[in-house]
């Protein structure tokens, strides 16, 4: 197996190959450039099915659900040894997201975002109509922070933005053209 798989799969993805995952499943970016390839960004979720449906509603394609051995999760992610871990990759526009669900779930809420905490803070989408997509988010288990809805700039340069949340509170920024 070796060479090719070593380089073309991430840790988790490789186990899936070993476990006989379908070739059509979504897996991390396999291309190395200069010895480094960006594989995916990971989101910790409290309900894998709920989050999968949510991101599918935003146009992401979803791969298969995979179980990761507890021992590996314990070593790499710091989970208790008896915890279970399931993951699923989702993708759109070439962007791969790994949804990770630890059982039992973490109860600590997602980061409040950029101004409140260092580190990964939000996930931005450009959209044709911010209120259309905000409604889509609300209809699929997410939230929209209406008080953050604002217009910026004037004339043809004007933009409208609103911050939303996924089912676990991950901040989603929507940016689109301002309505006349």
């Amino acid at each position: 197996m070796a060479g090719k798989f070593l380089i073309s799969g991430s840790a988790l993805a490789l186990m899936f190959f070993a476990g006989g995952a379908r070739a059509t499943d979504l897996l991390p970016n396999p291309t190395l450039d200069g010895g480094i390839g960006l594989a995916n960004v990971t989101i910790s979720v409290s309900d894998l099915e709920r989050s999968t449906k949510f991101y599918q509603a935003l146009g992401f394609a979803a791969g298969d659900r995979h179980e990761v051995p507890g021992a590996l999760a314990a070593k790499t992610l710091g989970t208790p040894p008896d915890d279970k871990l399931e993951v699923r990759f989702i993708s759109r526009n070439g962007m791969l997201i790994e949804l990770v669900h630890i059982i039992p779930s973490s109860t600590k809420p997602a980061s409040p975002g950029a101004a409140g905490q260092l580190g990964l803070s939000n996930f931005a989408f450009r959209v044709d109509d911010v209120m259309r997509v905000a409604a889509l988010i609300k209809a699929n288990g997410g939230t929209a922070n209406d008080s953050s809805h604002a217009t910026m700039g004037e004339g043809p340069q004007a933009t409208e933005f609103v911050f939303c949340g996924d089912p676990d509170g991950v901040r989603l920024e929507l940016v689109g053209p301002a309505k006349k």
Partner: protein
């Protein structure tokens, strides 16, 4: 709608740069909407020191844009307090993923998430590498850290978690040495 294609093509922040007369940045958010009217523009990381973080991601092969100030309104939308919060941003990009480095003055002091087992939400960035040792060295020489105790060999894989200068987790996965 035609006129607005440019609008649609620019993220709020990207457009703010244009409006402010900034030179068009070479590295910015993804701009092409898919047929359903949505595109993933970027993932954002809150950093304590914009230059330091830009250099860190550059040594990992990211292409960097230029630091650009944004209006207080956007800082407030991102949760900044005070009458006149300062915010500047810098986009970095590799392999099609655009990261927006966000820097507030004063910077948040709350550390980055400890990752998926401790907290829900965005938790790490995964890199695949040709040699975990080689890239780990780049990380530690540029203000990052590696979690050596948790380094794991799993079949053909070598897995090491690291952090950027603010503690954002980065997963390095490469071939295990035989």
């Amino acid at each position: 709608m035609g006129k607005f294609s440019l609008l649609a093509a620019g993220a709020a922040l990207g457009l703010a740069l244009t409006a402010a007369g900034a030179q068009a940045a070479a590295v910015g958010p993804n701009t092409t909407l898919a047929s359903d009217g949505i595109v993933v523009a970027n993932v954002s990381i809150s950093v304590a020191d914009l230059e330091k973080s830009a250099k860190f991601y550059q040594v990992l092969g990211f292409e960097a844009g230029t630091a650009t100030p944004l209006p207080p309104a956007i800082a407030k939308a991102l949760g900044a307090k005070g009458a006149d919060p300062k915010l500047e941003i810098l986009f970095v990009k590799r392999d099609g993923l655009v990261l927006e480095l966000i820097h507030f003055t004063p910077a948040p002091t709350k550390k980055a998430s400890m990752g998926s087992a401790a907290e829900l939400g965005l938790c790490h960035i995964g890199l695949r590498v040709d040699s975990v040792d080689r890239v780990a060295k780049i990380v530690t020489e540029n203000g990052g850290k590696t979690l050596d105790k948790e380094r794991t060999k799993l079949g053909p894989m070598d897995i090491l978690f690291a952090t950027d200068p603010d503690g954002t987790h980065i997963e390095l996965v490469g071939p295990a040495k035989s």
